[in-house]
Symmetry: C2
């Protein structure tokens, strides 16, 4: 990646690293074990806000409330309050009232207007929130907030469900000579997992950026990152990605055309891509990350569709689990993506190992392929030789543990 | 099904039951074990022929040859020759030449014109056919043909790959007072399974029907039957459904408007639906058949899309394996199908057990649900209360054995 030099990764940083942000988390009693299940990010100034939401017809109540806050507050937010353990989805009028009550309680606790607060939930679908516990928890949040790494850590823990690891990233770059920080935190157990109402991601930055420019960047970046992870093709009722920009880093306002815009966009993409890949790698039962890169498609959109079809194929995913260099499944998945392909010109590589050239099998060393496929990350390269479109998608292998986790989850 | 009375199931019948058809199979050496791997169906008169093929961009060579035979022979066929163990897909110019050679050898063996012969293959992708074995085998086919049930049995065995059971069905009905028979045979291990180049199905009948009417009926029926089984969403390079009608039963020519057309169409659909469900039930690793019926959609097409999305969801399939009444996954799958749904009016039943009404959870007896979900067949009913569209889709559960079979298949 040639763009890496435009920014630098800050391994120790988290969502409180950008200037102006505090965060925290605590246990209010939604999870049975004493792990954090309630958290918040609060900005000391109104932050430019942008969000993208699940496309599922069934949208959880908190998404409606957050949408309303961002729209009616001039696209500025001061805080987001998040619970895990309960998705507040398919909960009807009472669920909506509860999401508004969460927002009101957080606004009161932090001394903010209601429309300055966003709400997110993740957890089991179809159960009402125990609002007494939520309200008591929110009242305790102001004392739990910190601008330190510990605050970010407590927040990260508060949004996890079946995740095995927390997902955090932080990068820095220079804008008009001032150091700008972008950080992110996410949850999602890899598999798009409706009953756990799956993916939440939060990006904070101290860059100065107008809300509409942030929304456009967020939308474009989501298409290349979060929308390129596909694990079992399911789409949750609660997915939400929220970005907040405090503008406290100094430097001029960022927008397309600014000398440092490309660096900011690349850094922002790196944050989103790192979180998205971390979600795919932490897939339920997953043993390895699968990265599929398609080149030579007629358009980038076509390449995206093909890459996602391959990385989402149960047969490809099973083959990766079995370290089986089964290129027949890869080409068959490409062929059913509904996109233009010349059936005579396809090359496929597994890492550095060429297995198909001009749509014809190439003899390869099975032991070498086995060793490659047993690695931590499997890269599948598909060159269609049919245009200039390209894309990368991420997923994970399909394992016994996926079946075990999902066969027995609810009961 | 009120239409069942329009025809009668003939449990002992197979593809040789309709007048004019002989069939057979033998082992020519494509499978390592001494199981049949080459078969044929031959009709004593030119039979009206119709076929549908995989939509995959990568189509195996035999499909091209069959398409050409049907088109250039006035949509009449006398025979189809089929091998298993090798898909003759992704095999380039040599593969095409081999498919033509198979057709020529069969035409010579049966004393037919080349354009009276169709060809089908199923098995591993990307390997050339050992044509010496295939040719020797085809030369032996005439002696292997029989109009008896034994001929049908030997043919059924010859088309199987990882199937655990053979799939056969036969029905009878009266047309103009003459007894007409429709029979079918299929292979497909349930999972749409590209490397085994998956589903082949053959329907024979002694009804008199014009080829175009047969093609129209085949297309419409496929949309309601074979196209409604979705197991892992993958589409093979070799899928083919071929119907042949000898016209030897007597009675007038069938076409829409004929007094017995509806009965014939219902019987034809029963044959296709029975084979399709048998494929889903014999899914790799499957322990139960899943039948999803969607009603109250805006159109039948919309209902089909929603039913297929639900039955294809890995999360729904895992939950069925675990006998977990996880309606949250069902509603979330419905919501991502991309079809119009009123999120406030959805009912869901698991068999007779109502679990969601007006999109709100209904308390139900967990033990009763567990007992129901442990049955041999699981029926999921989704009523959207949003129109008059309806459809049924079939699939199977996702199990440890699916992962085992597909992780280790090729090697």
């Amino acid at each position: 990646m040639g763009v890496v030099s435009l920014f630098r990764v800050a391994p120790e940083g988290g969502i409180t690293a950008p200037k102006g942000f505090r965060a925290g988390g605590l246990h209010c009693g939604l999870k049975k074990t004493p792990r954090n299940d309630l958290g918040a990010i609060v900005c000391e100034v109104p932050a430019a806000a942008a969000a993208v939401y699940t496309t599922n017809v069934f949208q959880a109540a908190p998404l409606k409330v957050t949408r309303e806050s961002i729209a009616s507050g001039g696209r500025l937010l001061r805080a987001v309050v998040v619970n895990s353990g309960n998705a507040n989805a398919c909960t009807g009028a009472q669920g909506e009232a509860d999401a508004y009550a969460m927002r009101a309680a957080a606004a009161a606790a932090f001394g903010l207007g209601e429309h300055e607060v966003a709400v997110a939930s993740t957890g089991v679908i179809g159960e009402l929130l125990p609002m007494d516990r939520v309200s008591a928890g929110i009242a305790g949040l102001p004392a739990a907030l910190a601008a330190s790494g510990e605050g970010a850590e407590q927040f990260c823990q508060a949004i996890l469900t079946t995740d095995l690891v927390k997902k955090e990233v932080c990068v820095k770059l220079d804008v008009d000579g001032c150091e700008v920080t972008i950080a992110g935190a996410a949850k999602g157990s890899g598999m798009i997992h409706p009953n756990m109402a799956t993916m939440l991601a939060f990006v904070t930055t101290d860059a100065a950026i107008e809300p509409q420019a942030l929304q456009s960047l967020l939308g474009e970046t989501t298409d290349l990152t979060f929308n390129m992870i596909t694990v079992d093709g399911d789409t949750s009722t609660n997915d939400m990605l929220l970005a907040m920009a405090s503008g406290l880093a100094g430097g001029g306002e960022l927008a397309p055309g600014h000398a440092d815009w490309d660096a900011f966009a690349a850094a922002f993409r790196h944050v989103c891509e790192t979180l998205a890949k971390a979600i795919a790698r932490d897939g339920e039962g997953a043993t390895r990350l699968v990265e599929v890169t398609v080149t030579g498609a007629v358009t980038d959109g076509s390449a995206r569709a093909i890459a996602k079809t391959i990385v989402g194929s149960s047969l490809v995913k099973s083959a990766v689990f079995g370290a089986d260099a089964n290129w027949g499944r890869i080409i068959a998945a490409a062929g059913r993506a509904g996109e233009p392909i010349n059936p005579e010109t396809v090359d496929i590589r597994l890492g550095h190992i060429l297995v198909l050239s001009g749509s014809r099998p190439i003899p390869f060393d099975e032991d070498e392929a086995l060793a490659y496929l047993k690695g931590d990350t499997v890269n599948i390269f598909v060159d269609l030789h049919n245009g200039k479109g390209e894309a990368t998608a991420w997923g994970c292998d399909l394992t016994y543990d996926y079946v075990r986790i999902n066969a027995a989850y609810r009961t």
